[in-house]
């Protein structure tokens, strides 16, 4: 172990010479410190600004019921313009452009529609309440209670369970495909390959990370979907399976480089010891190096999961995007990320659909945040332990 007194790098950190004579250097160093805080600030800002939009739904302060209390036409002058605008579903510009007569006309139309729809019990349901987001509901016209995501319709149905299952299905396929193969490759490249080959194989695999996800999505959509359908003969051309395999290609570089890093950080003395006792290189890699680096492998899988659940373009293009509740991998699915990407452009700023998509974003951020934190802690501890024993 290095002792602090002898370590030149540690000495450098404590250098404070000449600062008293040069005030601008003091200022510059404080500035450097402030800029360095930007990473923390940005993470906080993401939390605040993505979370902020979803707060009304989170605390039940918004309502999406198709009919709300009817404002009578006679009350036009006594109601505040802001409330009227919201009641009539108009943007500020539209509200300004319409004259009084047109607004009164709209109100009477709305009142009439409200009276007609009053018999429809669904129209009074506040679909963004938590129980409607998570639990099945008996909608009229359906045989039994169902989980439905259908934001663009008379009754805005916002059940997030189908999307959650869609995301998990695609990510599960991706992990099942990517983890074994990239772990095996990491073992080969870090432990078994000769150093000369290693120098070529590692950057070669990492090149996969250089393919933009929109290109992977395009490849899945045009080439893989047709190929897999011909080979496996399933019905829906775009489904969780195709999307999952393409997603796996995006995950492979992540899992590979982190696992490879962890395996390489195992001290050479471990391997030399095993080899000296007569084990083969494979035995040393499998029985000594892998167990020692297992926390790093775990971190690699966790980060791969985070990457998979957050990937957008691949699933948007290759999963079919139908929000069906089904356990089959060969049915079209809709994921959380694809839903945000496909629907946000159609929403109105501040309206319940917009808030709902930000809620999905917050959920996604929270999941990946936790995954990152776990992986970060695990890797940090592993590094510390390995350095201590080196």
């Amino acid at each position: 172990m290095k002792s602090t007194a002898q370590d030149p790098a540690a000495r450098w950190l404590t250098v404070r010479r000449g600062q008293h004579r040069r005030p601008w250097e003091w200022v510059a160093e404080k500035l450097i410190f402030c800029v360095a805080l930007s990473a923390i600030i940005v993470v906080l800002l993401i939390f605040v600004f993505v979370g902020k939009e979803s707060i009304p739904i989170m605390f039940g302060r918004t309502t999406s019921a198709a009919i709300q209390d009817i404002i009578r036409v006679e009350d036009f002058d006594t109601t505040s313009p802001a409330r009227l605008r919201k009641y009539l579903d108009l943007s500020e510009q539209q509200y300004k452009d319409l004259d009084r007569e047109a607004k009164l006309e709209l109100m009477s139309l709305k009142a009439e529609a409200g009276k007609e729809a009053a018999n429809d019990k669904d129209a009074r349901v506040n679909t963004v309440a938590w129980r409607h987001l998570l639990l099945p509901y008996q909608w009229s016209g359906y045989d039994h209670p169902e989980y439905i995501w259908q934001p663009i319709s008379m009754i805005h149905k916002y059940n997030i369970i189908p999307l959650l299952i869609g995301s998990l299905k695609a990510t599960l396929v991706a992990l099942l495909f990517a983890v074994p193969i990239s772990l095996a490759a990491a073992i080969y490249v870090s432990q078994l390959a000769s150093p000369r080959w290693r120098e070529w194989l590692k950057p070669g695999i990492e090149l996969l990370a250089g393919i933009p996800s929109v290109v992977l999505g395009f490849f899945a959509l045009l080439v893989m979907a047709t190929l897999f359908q011909n080979v496996f003969g399933y019905e829906s051309r775009l489904n969780a399976f195709v999307a999952g395999i393409a997603l796996g290609l995006a995950i492979i570089p992540v899992v590979f480089s982190i696992a490879e890093d962890a395996l390489t950080s195992v001290p050479a003395s471990y391997i030399q010891g095993a080899l000296a006792l007569g084990s083969t290189r494979w035995q040393a890699a499998w029985k000594i190096v892998l167990p020692a680096a297992i926390p790093g492998v775990f971190a690699a899988v966790v980060l791969g999961f985070g990457r998979g659940i957050g990937e957008t373009m691949v699933v948007l293009m290759a999963s079919g995007n139908a929000s069906i509740m089904s356990a089959s991998l060969f049915d079209s699915t809709r994921t959380i990320t694809a839903t945000i990407a496909a629907e946000l452009a159609e929403t109105v700023f501040g309206e319940h659909h917009y808030q709902m998509l930000f809620l999905l974003g917050t959920l996604l951020f929270a999941v990946t945040f936790v995954a990152n934190m776990i992986a970060d802690q695990v890797i940090h501890r592993l590094k510390k332990r390995m350095e201590g024993k080196a």
């Binding site: 030149p8 790098a9 000495r11 450098w12 010479r17 600062q19 160093e29 450097i32 410190f33 360095a36 990473a39 923390i40 940005v42 800002l45 993401i46 600004f49 902020k52 500020e92 510009q93 074994p180 193969i181 990239s182 095996a184 490759a185 080969y188 078994l192 120098e199 194989l201 950057p203 695999i205 090149l207 996969l208 393919i211 933009p212 996800s213 929109v214 290109v215 999505g217 395009f218 083969t280 290189r281 494979w282 499998w286 985070g306 957050g310 990937e311 373009m313 293009m317 945000i340 990407a341 946000l344 452009a345 700023f349 930000f358 951020f365 990946t368 995954a371 990152n372 992986a375 970060d376």
Partner: protein, 322 residues
């Protein structure tokens, strides 16, 4: 006695020990197989795109605009998308490289690695690297466009109800991407700062330079290749990203080039998405789709390979230096 017999008698044939018994050989073969499968898939994707894309990637295609008929095989071009993508990544680099480099300097030259704050900053950087790109898109919309842009509009011309900054634009897209690629620049810069021998800093201090002078005139010039690597990696990553710019600036179609920071732009990656999902006849437009994908891949891959080569050079220098 020949050499082979000698080595088998003395048991010091390194080849025999490396591969060993049958089980070890099989498993070694399987791991090698996995490695080759990954490389094979990579080659397959690149080969397929190159084979189908090259015929369409003519000079005319690269220098003509999209015009009204972006699905017309004879007339379509990608120049506006290339210009848009280039503009947004250049703008992004202006933000991300200074901030990333300064953060890396703080982490490597000033911060004590044991302090809580340093751990915090590092955790934040790692975290930022793992945030899904679509969440950056939401953040760009919520923070840059509605908050920053909205406030700017109120400040600059409160009377005008038509938003200038409070709508998607190239500046907001670039800033969103800058936030996303910050970890890449920080990590690459730090790695090259670590590779510099501490003796160099000591020598500079011994000659009477202050710490900041040493960093500016000795440390940074030495770290330049690493900073460059980080910058290139960030540009390569950003030029292929679509999700963060979906709501922050990319346009489906624009008749003119962006001529202001608040203008929207056409984008190569977004165009790939449009061509592959909205084409009226996918079989007919396949040639331009493949050519566009190839153009995008050429852009990101050239940058990526440059970064890999540079990094390999730095690592070699690091090993030689110690």
């Amino acid at each position: 006695m020949n050499r082979a017999a000698l080595s088998s008698q003395t048991g010091c044939n390194p080849f025999a020990r490396v591969h060993g018994d049958a089980t070890s050989r099989i498993w070694t073969g399987l791991t090698l197989g996995s490695t080759l499968v990954i490389l094979g898939i990579l080659a397959l994707i690149l080969g397929n795109i190159a084979w189908n894309g090259l015929p369409g990637l003519s000079f005319r295609f690269l220098i003509s605009g999209a015009d009204k008929d972006m699905f017309d095989v004879e007339k379509a071009g990608v120049l506006p998308m290339i210009v848009g993508t280039a503009a947004r990544v250049i703008l992004m680099s202006l933000f991300v490289i200074p901030i990333g480099v300064v953060t890396a300097i703080y982490l490597n030259e000033y911060a004590k690695s044991t302090s809580k704050l340093t751990r915090f900053i590092r955790a934040a950087v790692n975290n930022l690297a793992g945030v899904p790109s679509i969440v950056f898109g939401l953040f760009g919309l919520g923070f840059f466009i509605h908050f920053a842009g909205g406030s700017l509009d109120l400040l600059l011309n409160p009377k005008n109800s038509e938003p200038v900054w409070g709508k998607p634009g190239i500046l907001w897209a670039s800033l969103t991407l800058a936030v996303m690629t910050m970890p890449l620049v920080i990590v690459a810069t730090e790695e090259s700062l670590k590779a510099i021998t501490p003796g160099l800093r000591d020598a500079s201090l011994a000659l009477g330079a202050t710490k900041l002078e040493t960093i500016r005139k000795v440390v940074l010039p030495q770290a330049l290749p690493g900073i460059l690597t980080g910058g290139i990696l960030a540009v390569s990553r950003a030029s292929g990203e679509v999700a963060p710019i979906l709501f922050t600036g990319a346009a489906y179609y624009m008749a003119h080039y962006p001529h202001s920071l608040s203008d929207q732009f056409m984008d190569l990656g977004y165009h790939v998405f449009i061509l592959s999902t909205q084409s009226p006849n996918i079989d007919q437009t396949r040639p331009i789709l493949y050519a566009t994908v190839l153009a995008l891949l050429l852009l990101t891959f050239t940058l990526n390979i440059m970064a890999i080569l540079l990094r390999a050079k730095i690592r070699k220098g690091m090993r030689a230096g110690h």
